[in-house]
Symmetry: C2
């Protein structure tokens, strides 16, 4: 399988135990969509080295870019650096550049042994400087190790996205007055013959809404989207399409 797009790994005991609701996954999804980098998966896992190694290996098999959230502080539950190094088959090394940054910021240059863990990284890691903060983004290859704290995650994500390029998607929505069972045959036919166009069908069961199914048609190019829309609309009974967006 060709590696393309991005995958995300949310390292979060606190998320899976309902102590906090994850904000980083939804934010990453939204921003990647805006810049046009397709997202293959978001895995939310425990703060566990084996679980991270597994998820990272899977993510790297399918995606070009991998974003992690969480587990990069100085405490015992911060195991992301070690796990990513293991997944890459690289040792953990101490980055001299990061040691200097940490020492420069500490009162009197004194840092605890645990505080200095922030300078540890998989061998080959690169630090991306950020405007407005002393703390850089930790990257290795096309893996970006972002912090779990939402305001820091967002800031670091923008630093990363400024360096990547995507292809925004062309999306067309159809809102229908028919149920899914009545339109499935038409969608089947178009989806089968146009596999490069992503067609989604989402039923709406809220009786206060003015439609019964929303159809999404999308592709990186406008032409195929317009063709698929025309074929779907042409295949449906007259009046089935209530509106378009």
């Amino acid at each position: 399988m060709e590696r393309s797009g991005a995958a995300a790994i949310i390292i979060g005991n606190e998320v899976l135990t309902a102590k906090v609701q994850d904000q980083n996954g939804p934010h990453l999804i939204k921003r990647l969509r805006e810049v046009g980098i397709p997202l293959r998966s978001v895995e939310t896992i425990l703060d566990d080295v084996d679980a991270i190694v597994d998820a990272m290996s899977r993510a790297r098999q399918k995606a070009r870019y991998v974003f992690t959230s969480g587990g990069i502080g100085p405490t015992h539950d911060d195991v992301t650096v070690r796990a990513v190094a293991l997944a890459l088959g690289k040792p953990v090394v101490r980055l001299p550049e990061m040691v200097s940054l940490i020492e420069a910021r500490a009162p009197g240059g004194k840092v605890t042994a645990e505080g200095m863990r922030l300078a540890d990284a998989p061998e080959g890691a690169v630090l991306l400087p950020q405007a407005g903060t002393w703390f850089p983004v930790l990257t290795v290859g096309d893996i970006f190790l972002l912090p779990g704290v939402p305001q820091l995650f967002r800031m670091q994500l923008e630093t990363v996205l400024a360096r990547l390029s995507g292809t925004p998607v062309v999306l067309h929505n159809l809102f229908l007055g028919l149920g899914e069972s009545e339109i499935a045959a038409v969608l089947d036919a178009v989806a089968l013959s146009m596999p490069h166009v992503a067609i989604g069908s989402y039923p709406e069961f809220d009786p206060t809404k003015d439609y019964r199914v929303k159809i999404t048609i999308e592709c990186a190019d406008r032409g195929p989207v317009e063709e698929a829309v025309a074929r779907i609309v042409g295949g449906l009974p007259e009046g089935a399409v209530l509106r378009r967006e």
Copy 2:
């Protein structure tokens, strides 16, 4: 590895492309926590048979219960039933009980070929009847195939949870006035010697908050939680703990 707890698979092109923000994952996380069933992972993946088969195989290796969200309607993008059958090495069969339910509800008993797809299930599937709706919950083994539509997901989840039993967790929170680097050595020592107690450390960078780190200490039993709390508090400098919850 022993299979325990639950795993969730959110089948959601619409989630990964930012068309909707997933509500089912967070709701499932919250409800499983409340009933005391530990959650191992939540994977959000594309509406893709191979991706679902892979995720299902992984989930079943680690978890006793697997919940899926989405992909169980009658359209071309509803591939969950087929994928779960593949993951289990079972054929897809048509459930006579579901055929009867669908026919009984259709005007004049007439159902499209696509509408009847709702009666397809992995061999060995069992339908759980629900109060207040004709539509049952589709299960096979300890896999629960829930719909992606949030109000239906929530209703079906309650039908399932009424049949499962869990062990609610004892949780103690400490709010500290010190940073993570200063407390890491104490946490390390306690976490290492009490591996059955889950200890989390969450820094707070919002200057309007009255603490710098929140420590979570949890376990199914009260005794180990109290012991870990006492050891952490005893190892920290006087006045480090601002409050407890």
